[in-house]
Every structure is written in structure tokens, then in C-alpha cells.
Amino acid sequence: MTVLNNEKTISIYNNSSNPKAYPPGKHVLTGNQSAAIGAFLCGVQVIAAYPITPQSPVVEELSKFVEDGELSAEFVPVESEHSAMGVCIGASIAGARVFTATSANGLAYMCEQLHWASGSRLPIVMGCVNRAMAAPWSVLNDQQDSMSQRDAGWIQLFCRDNQEIIDTVIQAYRIAEKVYLPVMVCYDGYILSHTVMPLEVPDENKVKKFLPPYIPHTPIDINNPVNINPVTLGEPRYNANGVLCHGYMEHKYLHHKALRDSLNIIEEVDSEYKDTFGRSAGGLFSLYKTDDAEVVIVCAGSLSKMNILVVDMLREQNIPIGLVSLRSYRPFPNQKLSAALKNKKLILTIDKSLSYGYQGPICIDVKSCLFEAGISSIVISFIAGLGGRDIKPYEIAETAYDYWNKFLNNELNSENIYESQWINCKY
């Protein structure tokens, strides 16, 4: 395998072009095509993935690029998602830029390797096409899969539309290779993955300028062998050269610090991307009509795009409502988010997932960041769209309208403040 650091590969890297079928400019594409073209433009060198609905078309598209000789990457067909991430880890350590994608049970099967990837501080980028977790068996959309991997130490970015998928994949490599952390690019199955939308495919040469070649943090040198991630005990220890090496806890602290530091990097990279390509992918989170809002909806993913309609509908009814679309879920932008939610009286979080036994994960994090900022707004957790249950704009609008009136009439009680509210659940 070639390592990007040598001159020959760098010259190949700099002299490539867009895929023939997708020259720079406007195209009408699915979310999966968008992710695959994003990976192509970043010049990925190793792709390993196992097909799973609704992620399969990403890998089909990439394998076609490799088969047609358009993308000089090693395509590794594997027997499971666990192996897919294993291949990515090996290739990334060796100095290759790698890509993989998965969904739901595939992601869960990868769980152990997710921790290996993040603990090894490898800048792997993975498309996570959000799908409901079994049981019962479902192939349809919700966000339980990636939310369940919240604590795997990855950066998790949520996309609102197909344009943001391609932009976020490109940004993800830049972020990942800067902070040495893997990035999960999460986008809703079917709603984005299989739905065509007009989007702008960037010019590969511009992408190459935006994204310098990947330099691994620990170069592999046959003359200077190292054992990566050996048993690392709790306490720091002296190695054979008498150097005091970190214990497990110091490594985890550095990992956590890198994630916290990446909050700034995510914003910086997004604003740099905006300067280069003329559009932002949402930074840490994006705001819609929140300046004078008194009630705010907080959600992530494709639902955020739909909720723009909801906000417009309710604004016509003179409801002072706004919308916060969370893009970076991990790291969680607690300080900036609480500043954005200051002075809001009522906050409605909508989760397409659930921390079973409590409330929606976004709601829990929003509450904790408000608490630390001393903001005592009422936060209500809504659960919607589990397992592909359709969410219609009027349902969200009616719910928000109801709760705003309940708030004005002081009718919010322990039943709806302390328990999650399920939208359109017929039970």
C-alpha cells in the first residue's frame, strides 16, 4: 500500500479530476450518491464496507468508480461491518485516507471497532445512514443507531439535506485529519439517502486545495517498529528508555480534550469551506428565526429542514417560534447552544431516537447545557418518527401550537414536563 507522504502519490493526488458522470456544477442526486461523490472528491485510497439497507448504494457507487478506473483506491469487500472498520483502522494507520459507510445493525456490529478507531485517533470518515435498530426488524429511518454510539468517542455531524452530505463529507476529512479523530457523517435513511435533490458538486481541484494530503500521527517505519495500543495500565509507567508514558486515563483525557477542541475546528473548517465554495453546511448548529423567538424547536437531521416550514406556518399565526438545527451532536456545543437558547421561554426538542427509560438524547443534552448556564426554560422532550413513522409538518405545527398555548395558560404540568411526549403514536 502506498503512503500519501511520497511525492509520486502527492502528484497523482493533485492531478485528478471529478468523476466523468459528475462534472462540477448542478446535479440532481440522492443522498447516497452525494456521500459517494464526496468521498471520491477527497481522493480516498481505501474503501471497506459491508452492504446494508439503506447504505448499500453508497458502496455500489464507490465500487463502480474503482472498477471503472476513475478512482485509484483499494476496494476491500469484507464479510462484516466489524471487519470493514478493522480494514479501515489498518489502512488509516498505514497512512491511507479511508472511507466506509453503514447503517443501524451494521453500526452496532461495528461497535467494538468504533472504540478502537477513536482510541487510536484515526481520521476515518464514515457515512452513517440513519436507520431504526432491531428488534422488531425495521429497515426504515430513525436516529437510534448513531445516538446509541454517542459515547464511542467519534465526532458526529448530522446533515439536513443532500447538499450538506457532500459538503460535510469533504469537511469531515479536513476536521478529522486536523484533530485526529474519526467522524461519523449522519444522514437520514430514505428521506435523504434515497431521495433526489438538486445539489452542487464541487470541483475536485478546489477540494484538493481545501484538503491537504493526510499525514498520519504515527508513521509506520519498518526500521523502528512500534506496538500500537499495547496493554496500557491505569497508572503512568516508565518505558525501556526511562520515559514516563501516559496511563490509560491520560490517553482518554487527551482523546476527550481533542473532541472538545474540535468544537472550534468544526466552526473554522465550515467558515473556510464557505469562503472557498460559497456555502456553509451549518457549523455547529444553525438558527432560523430565533432572534425574537420565545419558543424554540431543537432537532437534528432532515427533520430540521422540514421544521423550517413549520416555523413559517406558525409565524403566520403570530407564534414567536424559532428553530435550532443541531449539526454537531458530539462534540456537543453546550456553551454556544445555551447562549443561543438564552431568554427562550419554552424549548421543544424533537428526537428520532430515545434513551430508553428516560427521554430523547437531544433533550437530555439540551437540558444539561441550560442547567450549567443557569437558564431555567421549560424543556419538553418529543419523540417522533421512530422506525420510519412519517412526520408531517402539520403534526409538528399542531403540537408546537398546543404546547405554546398550554405554556401561556400555565397548563404545563408534571405529566408533560417530566415525561417524553410521543407525536403521532397511536397507543
Partner: protein, 103 residues
Amino acid sequence: MNTRDCGHIISGSSPAKGEAGKTGEWRTQRPVLNREKCLAVKANKDICYQCWAFCPECAIERKPGGPVDLTYCKGCGICAQICPADAIQMENEYDSSEQRKND
């Protein structure tokens, strides 16, 4: 933080004696050589050295009856198992307190 990582942001080690720290502290049993049985000692030649080859901590020196570096010997007993002449016995650390004083 007053610890240093070894120039890396991840945990790593190189193949060397003592790379995993002073593993001798883990020991509950120690290898004791019966010099009358050891093939290399008897022949006084560079032969056998199975204990040296198999020691996972590189704690045994490569010479006849090569002493064991008890700073790193973690008492795993592989040398005793592998010895073709049955010349190495594992003895409990707590029983051989007399010997410990002599170390």
C-alpha cells in the same frame, strides 16, 4: 499533567526489555534453576537456550545458566514449562523469604 507521552498521541511501545514497566512487581512465583540439570550449564556451551527464546519479557540472559532479571520476570512460568531438561522450578515468592533477602 506531569506525564509525557512517547512523542505520540496514542499509546505505543517498542520491542525492548522493560517496555511494559517493572513487571517483576507482578510476580507471585519465581523461577529457580537447578544447575545440575541445565543442558547449557552441563555442556558449558551455547546450546538449548529455550528459556531465553520463550521468555516473553526478555528477562533471561543468553548465556549458560543465564541469570533471570527479577526486575522484569513476572513469574509466568513459561521457562519452567518449556525447559527440556526440567531444570527450572517455580517457587512461591512468599515461601522463599530467605532467598528474597539475598536478592
